[in-house]
């Protein structure tokens, strides 16, 4: 009985995903026609760029890693029905933490520097996330407001940090620090970015956390509490703080991968990709996946494929990347609507 049930869920989900994706794709094609671009070339560029060359594929993986982490950032607090939309802030504070450790401990061997930098990023991002949790516990100010305000503050904190004499790149035109010492740089294994490990560990960690630990059970239960369905959420201060810490730590580590793996320095706008914030795409991905721990990595990869495709479309066909943001928003609305309708059909 259980196996057929699982099969049924799988078939239903596959159907749901393919259907919504197809509709979103059709809508995007329609926009392209309206804006007088060739929809066939556009859509094939969008979907296939990641798989045409190995460069495209590893580019996709590189976008996937922080995207996955920021997806968890939104998903974890969404479990307790709170909206952490300031993943950008937590990612930026994480990036600042990683940069400072890598700079200050740069003379040590890298097997010491890198774990410490990630630790600093996790604590920095997690601590910054916890501020919103604390404000919610103590002052009942919805995290929708507080995380956004903190996000703007952190953007200026990045600008402040990179312009400190100790770190600033004296000849950099853009606000940025000088290059990290070699010990603080994450290596590539051939073409494989080594920080894929962070993503893999995060996948296993979140799966075990939600399915096998008391904390995960409590988080899940707080979210399911019927009283919590009201917008005010439930009052379990410890759970709120723990979820915001975990969420922020994920974003912070995402920031660290960008600083130490991709840019090798702290730079204004390091938490952006394809012209928008990683954390924004994380929110969209999380809503599409519906918080399902298995669906999150798959959806995050799919979204990364779309982002790489969007970059390519902009480069080769001059189609604005915003076209793909709109497509993703449509994807979310369709997915959430259809999922809700299906739920109600099954449990009327």
């Amino acid at each position: 009985m259980a196996t057929t049930d699982a099969k049924g869920v799988l078939v239903r989900n596959l159907g749901l995903y393919s259907f919504t994706f197809l509709i979103a794709l059709l809508a995007t094609g329609l926009f392209m026609v309206i804006m007088r671009y060739d929809p066939w070339i556009g859509l094939s560029t969008l979907m296939a760029t990641s798989f045409r060359t190995s460069f495209g594929f590893w580019e996709t993986v590189q976008k996937f890693i922080p995207l996955l982490l920021t997806t968890y950032t939104f998903s974890i607090t969404y479990k307790i029905r709170l909206f952490n939309i300031g993943g950008l802030g937590q990612m930026q504070i994480g990036g600042i933490g990683a940069m400072i450790v890598a700079m200050e401990l740069g003379h040590l061997p890298s097997f010491l520097v890198i774990p410490f930098a990630f630790l600093a990023a996790a604590i920095g991002g997690g601590g910054y996330g916890m501020i919103a949790g604390w404000i919610w516990n103590k002052y009942s100010i919805n995290p929708i407001i507080s995380t956004v305000m903190l996000r703007f503050i952190s953007t200026y904190l990045v600008l402040f940090t990179v312009s400190l004499e100790r770190y600033a790149d004296p000849i950099g035109g853009h606000p940025m620090t000088s290059t990290l010492p070699a010990a603080g740089v994450l290596p590539y294994w051939g073409k494989v970015p080594s920080w894929i490990l962070v993503a893999l560990v995060a996948i296993v960690f979140v799966y075990l956390l939600m399915r096998r630990t008391v904390l995960g059970y409590k988080i899940e239960a707080s979210g399911m509490n019927p009283n919590a369905s009201a917008i005010y959420g439930i009052r379990a201060p410890g759970i709120v703080l723990a979820s915001f810490f975990l969420a922020g730590a994920m974003a912070g580590m995402g920031g660290a991968t960008q600083v130490m793996g991709v840019q090798h320095r702290l730079i204004d706008g390091f938490a952006l990709t394809s012209g928008a914030e990683f954390s924004t795409f994380g929110i969209l991905t999380s809503l599409v996946a519906g918080g399902d721990p298995v669906a999150v990595p798959i959806t995050a990869f799919l979204m990364s494929v779309l982002l790489v495709g969007a970059d390519a479309m902009q480069r080769t066909m001059n189609i604005p990347v915003e076209m793909v943001f709109l497509m993703q928003a449509i994807l979310v609305l369709l997915m959430v609507t259809l999922r809700g309708e299906m739920e109600r059909r099954r449990h009327p």
Partner: protein
């Protein structure tokens, strides 16, 4: 000295119009139980759509109307998805923020298609109230563009409507207890549709205010978080229209003070710290005045008849 102060007050009022218009929209829909957090996206789309039309027609009135219409359209999408498909209001809000940010740039690129030259549209008419505008300090309130006067009028009208008419009482009762309102025969669904659409239209007007009054041109992401500040202002004003203007003034003051302070900071890096002031200020003020804030009881909750 007094003239400089009057100028600063005038600048504060001009900025606070953006906040007041959008917050008024959030308050109006909030009173019917609709918590629309997508002001950021709505304002962006309205800014680019309204500016494009004002640019093409060289007519700012048409630009404002298009901004209002764009806002209303978003409000309609919001409320239909919520009422028909029961999508969570916050999920809808977040999706519309992103959809709004995306469509604003698409509209800009599709319609205006300007190259490197920043195109300018006609700005909104300015009008000094004869006599009143010459009074020191207070004069800042009366040396404004016509949209600001329109904002004064709307706040007064919204207050009169919500607190002095029967229909207004009905709207407020829906925000408190929709089921009870339904029982006594108030058209809950229709009113919620109307409140959401009118509210979003105000956000649209706030959005188009930016390019047509403040900057004179559209630029990507020009709303720059003000859409989120307006949510803070609506909460700070306890969802009361008469408190929207003073709250908006406080927050606009933060913005203008931070802007003026920068002139006195010698080192570039400390300017960045000064720039955090409006955002930190919003948070700290909300924390201090937390006890004075009231919410409509059923705000953000779906209404199911069965």
């Amino acid at each position: 000295m007094i003239e400089a102060a009057t100028n600063i007050i005038s600048q504060i009022i001009s900025y606070s119009s953006i906040y007041a218009l959008a917050s008024l929209g959030i308050v109006i829909s909030g009173r019917a139980g609709i918590f629309n957090i997508s002001a950021e996206g709505i304002m962006l789309t309205a800014a680019s759509a309204g500016f494009s039309i004002a640019l093409l027609t060289q007519n700012w009135i048409l630009g404002c109307l298009v901004g209002i219409a764009a806002g209303g359209l978003f409000g309609f999408i919001f409320i239909s998805f919520h009422e028909r498909f029961r999508v969570d209001q916050f999920v809808l809000g977040i999706s519309l923020i992103i959809a709004g940010a995306a469509s604003s740039d698409l509209i800009d690129k599709a319609i205006t298609a300007h190259g490197t030259v920043i195109a300018k549209a006609p700005t909104v008419l300015r009008w000094s109230v004869p006599g009143l505008a010459q009074i020191p300090l207070i004069g800042g309130f009366f040396d404004q563009n016509v949209l600001t006067y329109f904002m004064y009028l709307c706040i007064f009208a919204a207050f009169r409507f919500l607190y002095r008419t029967k229909r207004g009482l009905e709207v407020r009762s829906i925000g408190e207890n929709p089921k009870a309102a339904d029982v006594v025969g108030i058209p809950v669904l229709k009113t919620r549709y109307a409140a959401a659409i009118v509210g979003a239209a105000f956000m649209g007007l706030a959005g188009v205010y930016l390019p047509l009054v403040v900057t004179g041109a559209y630029s990507t992401g020009m709303v720059a978080g003000r859409g989120f500040m307006t949510i803070g202002i609506a909460i700070f004003a306890s969802w009361k229209p008469q408190r929207v203007l003073p709250s908006a003034l406080i927050f606009a003051t933060f913005e203008v003070i931070a802007f003026q302070l920068q002139l006195f900071v010698p080192q570039q890096q400390y300017i960045f710290l000064v720039q955090t002031l409006p955002f930190a200020g919003v948070l700290i003020l909300m924390m201090i005045f937390k006890k004075h804030v009231e919410f409509p009881t059923s705000l953000g909750a779906p209404y199911l008849r069965e």
